[in-house]
Amino acid sequence: MSEHIVSKKIYFLIFGALMVGTILTVMAAFVDLDYVFTGANTVVALTIAVIKATLVVLYFMHVRYSTRLTWVIVVAGFFWLAILFALVMTDYMSRSSGQYNLGSG
């Protein structure tokens, strides 16, 4: 398959979206969202970051127009990171006192 040339217009559109995302991130960070649930700010910040990253990956990095293989590689990368996070945190979050681990409070 031959390569796909993304038009300049799309680049500028994405750029605009990224800027908006950045501004939103900053604005959201200063609003206390803890009343929704604890850590809501982080969730918002990360959601925006993930959207921004996805835009970069899809358009600036042309994954949208690439082979399935590229998709698989990208997804695999993040999936493995998730494995690392998930299983390590399983350990820490399920440590409870009174049993084998009397870790503090």
Partner: protein
């Protein structure tokens, strides 16, 4: 060595003998694809490389949420935000440099590569200013040098703030290192672009370096909120 490559299948023909074709590839398409997959696979290793630090971040933030908020609130978020914008613009210029390589406008290609480099250097300059501020504030997380001078809220100790700061330095330092490498790659690209090496048929190096540059940008997209903004909603301490 076999200069004359025996190509196989139907794919050969048109661009069989481009001067940039390495002897072990059948055609440019195969070579380009190999390069691009190679870079993607490399970026996956980069994800995992940064991943170790993100893991440490996740764990210690989980353990010391307040300590992290205190440390974070002491960072210069305006400088960080400025740098975020700088990087996003540099991603745009990089994408445009690739675009002009694809359509074969050499002059604009060079212009945008150089613009990307200038933006990258700006980022590093701002970063240096930030590091210097931290140095002045005794926030270098080395034993004996670190001391957070602000008042600590209940439940926060010096160690926790220090924990934030080493993660901050490790992550942004590693990121900056990648930026520096990126600048090195870009200067090669500028040199070869100036020599007229890239054409609509052959510009894989520009494209692949672009992937790298965008990846470094993505890392920053996560670092900025995670490091600079995590405790802003709690107000200044």
């Amino acid at each position: 060595m076999a200069a004359q490559v025996e190509s196989h299948g139907e794919t050969h023909g048109a661009h069989g003998a481009h001067s940039a074709l390495q002897h072990h590839f059948d055609n440019m398409e195969q070579q380009r694809e190999a390069g691009s997959i190679g870079m993607w696979v490399f970026l996956v290793t980069e994800i995992m490389f940064f991943g170790g630090l993100f893991m440490a971040y996740l764990l210690y933030r989980y353990k010391y949420p307040m300590g992290f908020a205190v440390g974070s609130n002491h960072l210069a978020w305006k400088l960080g935000g400025f740098n975020t914008i700088v990087l996003i613009v540099s991603s745009l210029t990089m994408a445009l440099a690739v675009y002009y390589a694809q359509v074969g406008v050499r002059k604009l290609q060079i212009v945008f590569l150089v613009a990307t480099m200038i933006l990258g250097a700006t980022f590093l300059g701002v970063k240096a200013v930030e590091y210097h501020e931290k140095y002045v504030d005794h926030l270098i997380p080395v034993r004996g040098m670190f001391h957070y001078e602000g008042t600590l809220p209940h439940g926060v100790t010096q160690e926790q703030v220090q924990m934030f700061y080493w993660i901050y330095f490790a992550m942004t330092g590693l990121h900056a290192l990648h930026m520096i490498i990126g600048l090195g790659i870009l200067s090669f690209l500028v040199y070869f672009a100036w020599r007229g090496r890239y054409s609509p048929e052959y510009h894989a190096p520009v494209e692949i370096s672009g992937l790298y540059w965008h990846f470094v940008d993505i890392v920053w997209i996560f670092l900025f909120p995670l490091l600079y903004l995590l405790g802003r909603h709690l107000g200044e301490h």
